[in-house]
């Protein structure tokens, strides 16, 4: 009964939308040729474009050029004298049999694993918290604020605290594990050896999940509550509501959020730098940090730039693939907040 009411509702909306569209078309026909409107988007973009060119694009192009010259300390005072290296820097970077290339490859795998884990866990936690806090309750504001604190702390301070906590002899983590909970007799190392990977994922998630939480919370707020009410009346349980209302409505936000979380975690420099200092254990050798250590620290900017360009290419390919795949699934021509596939789903619900 209510299903058909919803369907009617949908039809009414569609009808209204087409009416607006026709009105717009009619209005368009009546309005004089809108020269102003044609320039408007470009005007709106202009400030952003100028800043991007100055701060991002031009330096990036210079950086790419740096990868084709032999830019070491000998030439850094006088770039024009640096000899052309062609693809030599790239050849060194991808020579997986030699030590530099092999180390780079290993760092790449570590980073990929780290990124997927950190992104997945952060997103999961952010979603769980956003959903849990969707309904008001006493103290909700306080809880929200507390959750955002790790993100609010300066990166250096937060990561340093974890370094402090993960110390083998004097840290809180081992104190809890060994002295309080007696889970293990041996005091494990967390900042060296195999456990370093678990440590860096934990620290990254600690700082990152509040951000996912923030974004998802903002997205959740713009889902009209009557959608949930209608589904509830229909008999859909909470889990069903989440799968069929929340997730689809969050699609545009998620699309960007997941991609950006991936890019940030993959490019993360601060976390390994502050957590491990000069240590650089193999399990925590993220690629940005690796490039820094393997090149910039030794004034080898040519090779460092080549490695960075390779990193850029890789991420570019991944992003393009991601966007293509998600765009294919988006070919149903509806605005994202009106989830078209919902209609059949809800029909299922009412018959279930």
């Amino acid at each position: 009964m209510s299903a058909s009411a919803i369907r009617e509702d949908d039809q009414a909306t569609t009808a209204l939308r087409s009416k607006v569209t026709t009105t717009k078309k009619k209005k368009k026909a009546r309005r004089p040729s809108p020269r102003r409107s044609r320039w408007l988007p470009y005007l709106l973009l202009l400030p952003a474009v100028i800043m991007e060119l100055l701060i991002h694009i031009v330096p990036m192009l210079v950086g790419i050029w740096m990868s084709f010259i032999k830019l070491t300390k000998i030439y850094i005072a006088n770039w024009s004298a640096a000899p052309w290296a062609g693809f030599q820097n790239y050849a060194i970077a991808v020579d997986f049999d030699a030590s530099i290339g092999a180390a780079l490859l290993q760092s790449f795998f570590v980073t990929a694993a780290f990124s997927l884990l950190a992104l997945g866990i952060s997103w999961g936690l952010g979603m769980a918290a956003a959903v849990a806090l969707q309904q008001p309750f006493r103290g909700r504001g306080l809880v929200r604020t507390i959750f955002l604190v790790p993100y609010a702390l300066p990166a250096y301070a937060g990561i340093l605290t974890w370094n402090f906590m993960l110390q083998r002899d004097t840290g809180l983590v081992n104190h809890v594990l060994v002295d309080n909970l007696h889970l293990t007799g041996d005091r494990p190392f967390w900042l060296l050896g195999g456990n370093a990977f678990a440590s860096i994922v934990t620290v990254a998630v600690w700082r990152l999940w509040p951000f996912a939480f923030l974004s998802l919370m903002a997205g959740l707020q713009s889902i009209p509550s009557d959608l949930y009410e209608a589904a509830a009346v229909d008999g859909a349980g909470n889990l069903r509501q989440w799968r069929h209302i929340t997730l689809p409505s969050l699609r545009p936000v998620n699309l960007v959020l997941i991609l950006v979380l991936f890019l940030w975690t993959f490019n993360d420099f601060n976390t390994p730098y502050v957590l491990f200092g000069n240590g650089q254990p193999a399990g925590g050798d993220l690629i940005s940090f690796h490039i820094y250590n393997a090149s910039f620290l030794t004034w080898n900017f040519g090779i460092g730039s080549a490695m960075s360009v390779l990193l850029l290419l890789f991420l570019f390919v991944v992003t393009a693939a991601y966007l293509l795949i998600t765009r294919e699934r988006n070919t149903t021509p509806k605005a994202a907040s009106k989830p078209a596939p919902k209609a059949p789903a809800r029909t299922e619900d009412s018959h279930a």
Partner: protein, 446 residues
């Protein structure tokens, strides 16, 4: 109405950020430019820009110490000095950007082990005979210190400013209780450390900064040198894998691995202060530190008569090298507009009076011939360090690739210590393989 609202909004959208940025720019342009300002080659009215490194317990303390000294300089010469103190975390990056953009200070401090590397950039002024005359003569400096000024065979691009050297600090009481004399050879040192290690009471013979790649490579160098090893040949090619070096590194690693006189947790110590801390709180009997450890040791509660210093011992029959020549040098940027003023400044900072003033707060050894160290009140300690610095020291390799040597070998040692700490073993072959890797990286990058 549509037109008006559009333009009003567009105007607002573009002018608001512009005004905000403009206001910010106007209100803050007093930053103090980082390039040498003012023309004029050295008369009064010139202003020099000087980048100092962090030598005191805090950056503010550095400023506190230097300000009256600089004021005195201004009074004597009429040249003003614009001081900036930069922490070690940032100093290398600042120098790199300064060199790259050709806009930096007039005078700056550098870690003296960077001297040959920075010389190769060509951005620093070589001290020719005229320059040396202007600062008071080359001969006034202790020879080992002066040797660190740059690569051999060329005019140096830096002059010694503050001296530092490693020593073996030991806890007098702990040694006395165990009936041990301060060690004079490596073997004695290990035996002493083993006697003083009591894992049940969590006291160890030694604390090492086994997670600090700079400390590790320093000792790779010293131990290798004690075996007569060289890290670069005369042509500047890396020779890391010689037996002398391999055995030297292994000997140092074995302090944790075979001799077991070092707590495995030390593999996490990524700077020397943590080891100093263990020493000052009496958890370990001996540490290897540069002479500026005194400040930290005493600020942690240990009194200066509770500890003594001896040179870092060599194995019986080895070369008596106890330290590399550590310290801070002073360089002048080649494109400074105030060359004469800068030379006057260097002369002032390396004069006996200034050196005496700075010796105590910066815990440094004098770089001038015939001066006694003032960094400590303990005359025995002063004598020991002066002796170490002048007679038992060797400069780190004076090649452009020195910094790569430090980072590759140092990090290899970090990894080996980590392996030992987490239960693995490192053999001489493993050491050789790791050093070969490091050697390949350095060779490829030159």
């Amino acid at each position: 109405m549509r037109l008006r609202s559009l333009s009003r909004f567009t105007v607002a959208a573009i002018t608001v950020p512009a005004i905000a940025l403009g206001a910010a720019a106007c209100s803050s342009s007093s930053g103090g430019s980082s390039s040498g300002s003012d023309t004029g080659s050295g008369g009064s009215g010139t202003t020099l820009t000087y980048w100092a490194s962090n030598q005191a317990p805090s950056l503010d303390k550095d400023k506190e110490v230097l300000t009256p000294v600089l004021a005195q300089f201004t009074q004597q010469t009429g040249i003003k000095v614009n001081l900036e103190v930069i922490g070690w975390n940032d100093l290398q990056t600042r120098i790199q950007t300064a060199i790259t953009s050709n806009s930096g200070p007039d005078v700056l401090n550098i870690g003296n082990t960077w001297a040959a590397s920075l010389q190769a950039t060509g951005a620093f002024m070589p001290y020719d005979s005229a320059a040396f005359t202007a600062i008071g003569g080359k001969e006034k400096f202790v020879k080992p210190a002066m040797d660190t000024g740059g690569a051999p065979g060329q005019d140096p691009t830096s002059v010694p400013y503050l001296g530092l050297a490693y020593g073996l600090y030991y806890n007098k009481q702990m040694l006395k209780d165990a009936g041990i004399q301060p060690p004079t050879t490596w073997e004695e040192m290990v035996a002493a450390a083993q006697k003083l290690t009591n894992t049940a009471k969590s006291t160890y013979g030694f604390a090492l900064a086994a997670g600090s790649y700079t400390e590790n490579v320093h000792f790779a160098f010293i131990n290798g040198s004690q075996n007569g090893g060289e890290w670069f040949d005369s042509a500047g090619k890396p020779t890391f894998t010689s037996d002398a070096n391999v055995q030297g590194v292994l000997r140092y690693l074995n302090l944790m691995q075979k001799d077991k006189v070092v707590n495995a947790s030390n593999a996490q110590y990524d700077n020397g202060t943590k080891a100093v801390n263990d020493f000052a709180t009496k958890k370990v009997a001996m540490i290897l530190n540069q002479n500026n450890a005194d400040n930290s040791i005493q600020s942690n509660g240990m009194k200066s008569d509770e500890y003594g210093v001896v040179p870092f011992p060599a194995p019986t029959g080895g070369q008596k090298i106890a330290t590399f020549i550590a310290g801070i040098n002073m360089s002048i940027f080649k494109n400074t507009k105030n060359k004469d003023a800068a030379l006057q400044f260097v002369k002032f900072m390396t004069s006996p009076e200034t050196q005496k003033t700075l010796g105590k707060p910066f815990s440094s050894l004098p770089v001038l011939k015939g001066e006694t160290p003032v960094f400590t009140d303990n005359p025995e300690e002063a004598k020991t360090f002066a002796d170490i610095y002048a007679n038992m020291s060797k400069p780190l390799p004076l090649v452009p690739g020195e910094d790569q040597f430090e980072s590759t070998v140092g990090k290899a040692m970090n990894t080996m210590f980590a392996k030992i700490a987490t239960g693995g073993t490192v053999s001489a072959d493993d050491v050789k393989a790791a050093l070969k890797d490091a050697q390949d990286q350095v060779a490829a990058a030159s």
